[in-house]
Point group: C2
Chain length 84, copies 2
């Protein structure tokens, strides 16, 4: 069954949408993205290897379990055919 | 009409697939990704702000036009519901 909606989702939804379709220019779609890729990217935002201030701020306080929960949520979403 | 298949696509397809569905662990799906996000990410791989050696090698020799052509190609692909 699909993963439960993570408590922290609101933090991400502002730019990425709850269903993983980007809402602002520059933000990527996350819906249906590879789980391992999302988990690794989130860790790199948190530890600064990916040096994107807004993502560092968003992920800084999150635990590994919370990062993985968000990665599982977005990976489980079905990409909708949004405008490129 | 959909963009023509870029000459350089083979370089990317090994890991990302011709249609933008990742073929290897750790590589992201690119199909239907936001065009502006892909264009910016490719530039950051090329100039090293995103420090991923394989992507630096792949994008290093490419012109802006070639990067944009690849971004347009992948952004125009329809994501298929692959396993997360």
């Amino acid at each position: 069954d699909p993963p439960a909606k993570p408590a922290r989702l609101g933090l991400c939804a502002a730019c990425h949408g709850e269903a993983g379709m980007a809402r602002i220019p520059g933000a990527p779609n996350l819906a249906g993205q590879k789980l391992d890729y999302l988990r690794e990217a989130l860790r790199q935002y948190r530890d600064g290897r990916r040096d994107i201030p807004v993502m560092r701020a968003a992920t800084g306080p999150l635990t590994d379990a919370e990062l993985d929960q968000l990665a599982e949520w977005y990976s489980a979403q079905t990409p909708s055919r949004a405008a490129p």
